[in-house]
Every structure is written in C-alpha cells, then in structure tokens.
C-alpha cells in the first residue's frame, strides 16, 4: 500500500510527464478534443503557425448603374478611379459618370439633386461638389448610393476638388467665397487657403485645383478682371503662398502670343508637371513646376485634334491625358500626351 508521500510524488510526476499544469484551457469539449490534444492553445509549440493576416481589402472601384453611351451633356471636372477609369461630373445632365478610358463613353451614372461640379475619389467614396445645394456630397463607390453630405453653410460654390489620399484631405475650391477649403474625409473643415482680393496670392475667380502630395503643394487656376492676366497660384498645404505662373504672353507691336486667359481644370503628373485646360485656347498647357515655364501644348482651337470646346477638366493617367470637353459633350484623349 502506497504511503501518502508516494501518492504525492506520483501526482507530481504525472503532472510533469503530462507537460502542462492543470489549466482550464485543457477543459475541452468532445467536439474539439482531437484538435486540442495536439494544439492546446494558440501559440503552443504543437500548434501550427498562425495564418498570415488577411490583406486589407483594396479600394472599391466605382460601380454605378449603367448609363447610355450618349448621356454626357456637359462634362466638367474629372478624377481617376483606383482602376484608372474616369469620374466625370456633368452639371448639365445633373449626373456624375464613370467613363471607360478606352471608349471614353460613360458606363455608369448617378443622378444628383442639383448640378454637380467638383468630383474626387477618396477611400471608397466619391465626393461631389453640389453648388445647387451648397454641399459636398458623398456617394458610395459600390453602387453609387448617397452616403451623406457636408459643407452646408461652409461651401458656397464648389468649383473643383483635389485629394491627398495619403493625408486623407480634400481641397475644395469655393468659387463663392473665393478661397480653398481643406476638409478631412469626414467633412471636418481643417483649414482655409487664401481669399478674395487683388493682392498677390489672393483670388479673383478660383476655378480648378490640383495637389502634389510629394511637395505638399496646392495649385489653383484663377482668372478675372482682378487677375489680369490669368494665372496659376501655388500654395503650400498650410496656405503659404509660394508663387504664381502668369498667363501673360509675349506682346509686341503686332499683338500678343503665348499665355493663357481662361484656365480651368488642372492636374499634376507623377513627375510634377502641371497640365492645365484652357477654355479659350481649347487645349491643354503643360508647365514645368520647377521652372514654371510652359513646355508643351496639347490641342488648340484651330489645330487641335481632338477638337475641344471649353475644356473644363483634365486628368493625367499613365501616358495619356484625358480632357472633359464641355461644349462637345465628350471626353477626349491625348494619347501619349503625358510622355
């Protein structure tokens, strides 16, 4: 008959041989007993390695209800979707469209209560300026459902919009207040850049906007009687005025050449060049950011192919430059225009 001491030793030895102490993690049910027998708990040496975490879902490519191919009435501003399709606002049709960059025809649309102007994509949401309601409206990329708005009372007339996806910021040109308002994705006003006036760095009629997130710079096109000549104003994100690209051309006894007068939408290429649509020139002007000199012209009123009438929006996508031609009711492309 074993003594009490023997029983204690035997019990301790059994515990040691079992490789684990008494633990409620061993209180398994019949259903998972076979698994738990080999893998008592995650991280145990007998357990298989933890599966790698699921990669975060990619951005949602806008998928709007179908649109007729001739649905464009007055394309205005543009933005790019994650997959490189085009988002186009059309205040005349009172719709926003997704446009196939190959056919340049709309393949999806969302009807708005008002006349959309500015348009941008950020974090699975399409943001649209609606001057008719004085708001920035949000539409789900997946299906185009209305997802709320902001800016009521703060944005008088959204003319154009740009985003810094990394910073999660929206830069909205307010043509009514004649300044740039910076919002976060939730619609909270973060700051205001410039304002109306005739002093350097102040706006006459700010129209288009683009940002360079590498340089943390904001580019705004501007024209009007107090902005004679027209210009492109450059600010830092914090609102500090940096410089201005003048639209003044070269004038002599026989007239003037060069320059621009009705700059509209603007886009920044990955290499930092600025692409500016000009309504009167019916083309796109290309500027070197560093030298602030014009380096190229795409199109033109009399020579340009494709024919543009009041080009109002421009985006650079890969090698191509896409233009929203307001009065030809079309989206046009300069293939290789960004090379």
């Amino acid at each position: 008959m074993a003594s009490r001491g023997h029983l204690v030793l035997a019990f301790v030895a059994a515990l040691l041989l079992s490789g684990c102490a008494v633990d409620d993690r061993d209180m398994v049910t019949d259903a998972d007993a076979s698994f738990k027998k080999e893998c008592p708990y995650p991280g145990h040496k007998h357990c298989p390695p933890e599966p790698p975490p699921e990669p975060p879902p990619g951005p949602v490519e806008p998928d709007f209800p179908g649109a007729a191919f001739d649905a464009l009435r007055g394309p205005l501003r543009m933005a790019l979707t994650p997959a490189g399709r085009l988002l186009v606002s059309d205040s005349r049709a009172r719709k926003i469209f997704t446009v196939d960059p190959t056919t340049r025809l709309p393949d999806g649309e969302v009807t708005m209560d008002g006349k959309p102007t500015a348009i941008a994509y950020l974090d699975d949401v399409v943001y649209v300026g609606n001057p008719s309601r004085g708001t920035i409206e949000k539409y789900d990329a997946d299906g185009g459902g209305f997802a709320g708005d902001f800016g009521s009372g703060a944005v008088a007339h959204a003319m154009d919009m740009a985003v810094d996806g990394g910073a999660g910021l929206l830069f909205v040109v307010d043509g009514g207040d004649r300044n740039v308002k910076v919002f976060d994705g939730a619609g909270q006003l973060q700051s205001t850049i410039s304002g109306p006036g005739i002093a350097l760095g102040e706006f006459a009629n700010p129209i288009g906007i683009a940002v360079n997130d590498s340089l943390q710079e904001v580019y705004v096109t501007d024209y009007g009687p107090d902005a004679d000549p027209a210009n492109i104003k450059i600010f830092q994100y914090d609102g500090t005025f940096v410089a201005e690209i003048s639209g003044a051309g070269s004038c002599g006894m026989l007239g003037c050449s060069g320059g621009f007068s009705r700059p509209q939408g603007i886009s920044v290429a990955p290499d930092g060049r600025l692409f500016v649509a000009d309504a009167m020139l019916a083309g796109v002007l290309v500027f070197d950011r560093t030298t602030m000199k014009q380096t190229a012209t795409l199109g033109g009123r009399d020579t340009g192919i494709p024919a543009l009438r009041i080009p109002a929006g421009v985006v650079v996508s890969g090698d191509n430059v896409y233009v929203a031609s307001n009065r030809t009711h079309s989206v046009e492309v300069f293939e290789g225009g960004a090379l």
């Binding site: 007729a68 129209i207 070269s250 007239g255 003037c256 007068s261 509209q264 000009d278 009041i310 009065r327």
Partner: protein, 631 residues
C-alpha cells in the same frame, strides 16, 4: 486696316476708362466690373484668336457664363448657360436660337454687346439690333415683365423677342400685338439655356398643354399601359417624368421643326436612320410603317444600346425576336404594316400610353368590360373576324353562346365549355386566359401557330423537354403544349377558376393512361384506335369553341362534338351512334346518368355501350378518370 484700328480703339478705351462702369448688367446688378476691355479683349496676351469668329466669341462668353465658369449673372442667381444638346449633321454641337428655324447659328453677340450699355437695356442687350431680315431695329428692354419687357404686346414692336421675328406664330415685328403671353417673362418658358426653345420645365413642362401645334402628351402617360412607369419609379405624377425618358426615343436635333423624329436607340447620332414622321401614324399605314425599325431597335436583346431598363420605373424592355418576327404570319400579312398602327394596320400605338394593355391601339379608346369589343381578344378580333383582313374568323368562333353548368359534384362549380378568354367568361368563373397566353403575335406562323413554352416558369419547354415519351415518339408537340399549363402551374397572366381549379392532367395522365394505355372495352371497329393507344389531347378537346360538325352546340370542357378516327380522316359519326338516336354529343351535366346528354354518350362514340357495366356518365365521378380504365 481693320484690326490695327480696332486694337487702337480698344487700347484707347481701355486706358481711358478702365473697367467700363457701364458694364454692370444694365444697372440691375451692381456687380464687380467684370466686363472691362482687357478682360475680354485680352490686351495683355491670352493666346487666343481674334474674336471675329463666332465660336471663339461664344466660348469667351461661356468661359464665364457657362457650366465651367464663375459668373452667376442670371437674376435668379443661376449660371446662364446657353449650349443645347442638339447636334448638326457633322455631329458637332451647336447653339441654336430656336433650332432649325434659323439658317445659321446665332451666338451671344447677336443680341448682347456694348451697345446695350448705351441704351440702358438689361443684360447688355443691344439698343439697335441688326436683324436677319428687318434691318436695324430699336430694342427697349428695361423691364422683366410688363411694359418694355421681352414682348409687351403694345403696337411698338421693340421687344427683344419681337424685333427679329417675321415668321413665328406670335410676336412678329410687324404685329399685330400678340395674344400669346405678352407682358410675361418669356424666359420662364423659353429658357436662355435651351436656345430659347419652349423648354421651360423640360419636356413635360411644355407638353402638358397644347400650344399652337404642340401636343399635350403628358396625360397620356396616365393611361392603362405605357412605357414610363412613373408611379413605380417613385414620381408623384406623370408631370414629373424626366426629359431623359422622352429623349430615350425622341430625337431633339430638330425640335419644333414640325416633325416628330425618333431615334435608332442603338445609334442615336446616326441621323440617317432616324424616323421622321410627316403624317399621323394612327391614320396612315405608310407613316406607321416607318416606326418598326425604331421599335425594334430597342425591343431587342440589348435594349437601348445596352440599357434594358431605359425608362423610369425600371421595367425591362420585352425582347422581340426580330428573325421570328420577320417570318411570322403577322409581319407577313399584307394588311399589317409593322408594329405601329390603329389595330387594323399595326397593333401597337402611341408609346406614351394606351387605355388597352400592351400599348394596343387605338390608344385613347378604353376597354369596355365585360364586352370583348375592346380588350385583348376584342382587339385580336378586329382583324380576325368575318370580314377580315385576317383569314381566320375567331370572332365568330368565340361568339358562340357560352354553355354554363353548375357542377354539384365539383364543389358547385360553374363549368363552361371553353378557355375563359372572354371577359364575360372571366367574370363568371374567375379564371383568366388570353389569346396571347397561347399565341405569340410576334412569332407565330402557320407552321407553328402557338407558343412553344407558354409557361416558362415550369422548366418544361415544349418540344425540347418531354413529359411523356409517347408524345415524344409521336412528335405530338400540341399535346405537350396543352400539358405545359395543365400541369398544375400557370402560364404568366393566367389564373385559376374560382371554384374549379385548373385540371392537372399531366399528373393523372402519367399515373393512369400513360402507365397502362387507353382502355379498349367495347372499342368499335373502324375508329382506327386500339387498346393501349395514347390519345392526343386534340382527339377529344378543342382549344377554341367550335361547332365542328352538325350538332350546333359547344360542349363542356371544350370537348369536340365529333371525334375523329385515329388517322384524322374520318368523323366518327359516320359510324352508327351508340346512344339514343336523338341524343347529341354534347352534355350539360356530367352527373346525369339518365339524360340524353351525358359523358357516357360522348364516350360511346368509340366504346360500345352494350359492353359497359353502367349506362350513365363515364367520367371521374363514376368510374373513369382522365383516360384511365377504371378509377
């Protein structure tokens, strides 16, 4: 040299009067001095061409006053935006003041320029306007309504909407004073943004009432059937139908030019295939015939260029098999001119709406239940009657009096002699079936005069999937067609008898006769039938009421009154009748054992009565079910 002189003049003006104070919207709006010389004439270089070109001038104006510009000079605070959505033949957009009535496009400068400043007219409207055919005319435009407004109705024709016009219906520059909305704000309806076409409020805004030759069509969308389901689309009324619904079909490139133009919806910019009506398609078969291509351009697999739900309400476009349509009896009929018409030539009428189903014509004539004069079967009978033009007189066939009997043994059901196509039958029985339940007017032809899949929901496609191998072997598509509905499920648009449900013959058929073959008890020689034969449905039943031989009545359950021999060559009454000499092969009561008119007599067409156990009714209430030997 014109340009240097102009340049010098502008330079002088610019220097002398920077920011011309007069360019302040006729004094109405004390806005900032936008219209100084250099802003438009760009003395300091803007890189654009001279303003002599109308397109350049217009773009200059619209660079501020258009969609993309900053100007909000309209007195309502709305951007003035002129371009319209029309296209010239070369495909380019154009600004057209009142569309095709002008031989050349007008532009901003035709009405607005510096001269308006001197005259104090609103909106820089010229005080002395060069008109197309009336020389220079004085314009006074110093009020939005009333005296000196757009067209104030007095005998001095100096309104901005009067001075040019010589061929319009109203407000000509030679009078007489108009009765058309004078002293009103013309631009409330004739919007600047639409080139002053009467477009206020969109299509529905104008076409809700008549005006000159303009039709009021909005109310037509309140009819029984129509293309646009505005209620289903959440709109409050037909007046809210958006322009996009209208322009799905209507080509607006020559709006108000006097003709209705319709698109090939798959290629709307191809004006060569646009339909241009020069007459009334409701009365002219020639005009109606023009519309088929338009209808079929949408009623195909891809709808309106890929959009199969082009209208508010989201109804899916019914697809018409164009190949089958072209081979169909209807399209091949000399009397039909295609899709559109008044019911005599063509079947469907105005897409706006019809008081009949399926947009059938004439659209404004309502169905008059319970008579079948106007609803679907009545519509079909407009042609399929004794005087044609269709060759088959279904009007007379269905015009036979309906035999009704109360069937005590079947739940006191009101049983009749036919499919309940007529409204009178439907009202009595509650059952509904229509001509188109069995027939497809778009595809049926003499070689295949009924649908191959009247009930697409049951997964049984007639002639492809077979319920019974005996019918498959015999190639008896017609019997399988009958069973497609008589299988316990309904074809779309049909419904059941209120007290006597649709007979599920397929189930009884497969458990009874299909397992054993038909009985041969007392089978009379000479019929051609033999024990074990599987009878086609048409041996005993008729799809339409028919007095096909000599008895002058129609039988309950759509039974034939004269069975044919198996080879179809002989009417069996040529065989001596097995019942009383006076009986009719019709019956009014299944349960009548003793009367002359009972199913026993019908059965005895082929089966010798002397060999039967009973002498009365044979049908299910007694011994035999649908084809079985014994219950």
């Amino acid at each position: 040299m014109r340009i240097p002189r102009l340049f010098a003049a502008l330079l002088f003006v610019s220097v002398a009067t920077p920011g011309l104070p007069g360019f302040t919207d006729g004094g109405l709006l004390a806005q900032t001095p936008m219209h100084n010389c250099s802003f438009c004439h760009n003395l300091h270089g803007g890189g654009y061409a001279a303003l002599g070109d109308w397109a350049v001038t217009e773009d200059l104006c619209l660079s501020c006053h258009g969609d993309a510009g900053p100007a909000t000079v309209d007195r309502d605070g709305v951007q003035v935006a002129v371009p319209k959505s029309g296209r010239n033949d070369d495909g380019n957009t154009f600004v057209a003041h009142n569309g095709a009535k002008h031989s050349a496009p007008t532009n901003c400068w035709d009405c607005h320029n510096h001269e308006g400043e001197a005259s104090l007219n609103f909106k820089m409207v010229q005080g002395l306007m060069p008109t197309p055919s009336s020389g220079d005319q004085t314009v006074v435009f110093t009020a939005w309504t009333g005296t000196n407004s757009f067209a104030d109705g007095d005998a001095t024709y100096d309104g901005v909407c009067e001075v040019c016009h010589t061929a319009t219906n109203y407000h000509q520059n030679i009078g007489p004073p108009g009765s058309h909305n004078f002293t009103d704000d013309c631009t409330a309806c004739h919007l600047h943004g639409s080139g002053f076409e009467g477009a206020g409020g969109g299509c529905a805004g104008c076409h809700s009432s008549t005006q000159g030759t303009r039709r009021a069509v909005v109310g037509e969308f309140d009819r029984t059937s129509h293309h646009v389901d505005w209620a289903g689309g959440g709109l409050a009324s037909s007046a809210d139908i958006p322009d996009s619904d209208c322009t799905t079909c209507h080509d607006q490139s020559a709006h108000q030019a006097g003709n209705v133009r319709l698109k090939d919806v798959d290629d709307p910019l191809n004006t060569a295939v646009s339909v241009v009506l020069t007459g009334d398609p409701n009365t002219s078969s020639t005009e109606a015939a023009k519309l088929s291509a338009h209808c079929l351009s949408c009623h195909d697999a891809d709808g309106a260029n890929g959009n199969t739900t082009p209208f508010t309400g989201g109804a899916t476009v019914p697809e018409i098999d164009n190949t089958a349509w072209l081979a169909s009896s209807h399209e091949g009929s000399a009397s039909l001119a295609g899709c559109y018409g008044n019911g005599t030539f063509g079947c469907h009428s105005s897409g706006h709406g019809s008081e009949k189903t399926q947009l059938l014509g004439l659209p404004a004539t309502a169905a008059t239940a319970p008579a079948y004069a106007e609803q679907e079967e009545g519509f079909c009978f407009n042609c399929h009657d004794s005087d044609g033009p269709a060759g088959t007189d279904m009007d007379s066939v269905w015009g036979e009096s309906i035999n009704w009997v109360q069937m005590a043994l079947d739940g006191d059901a009101a049983i009749n002699d036919r499919h309940d196509v007529q409204q009178a039958a439907q009202a009595e029985s509650g059952a509904v079936i229509e001509c188109t339940s069995c027939h497809n007017p778009h595809t049926d032809a003499s070689a295949q005069p009924y649908r191959l899949d009247p009930d697409p929901g049951d997964g049984h496609v007639v002639g492809t999937d077979w319920y019974f191998t005996a019918y498959q072997t015999a190639g008896d598509v017609l019997s399988e067609f009958c069973l497609d509905c008589h299988d316990g499920s309904f074809a779309p648009g049909t419904s059941d008898h209120s007290t006597s449900p649709l007979v599920n013959i397929r189930s009884t058929w497969i458990t009874d006769v299909m397992g054993e073959g038909s009985g041969g008890a007392g089978l009379i020689a000479g019929t051609g039938w033999a024990e074990g034969d599987v009878l086609p449905c048409s041996t005993c039943h008729l799809p339409h009421p028919r007095v096909d031989q000599d008895f002058g009545v129609t039988n309950l359950a759509a039974l034939v009154d004269t069975v044919k021999s198996k080879d179809g060559a002989t009417y069996l009454p040529s065989i001596p009748k097995q019942g009383p000499a006076t009986f009719l092969y019709s019956f009014t009561d299944y349960s009548d054992d003793t009367g002359a008119q009972n199913t026993g007599n019908f059965c005895m067409t082929c089966h010798d009565r002397s060999g039967m156990i009973g002498k009365g009714s044979c049908y299910s209430s007694r011994c035999h079910g649908h084809g079985n030997k014994l219950n």
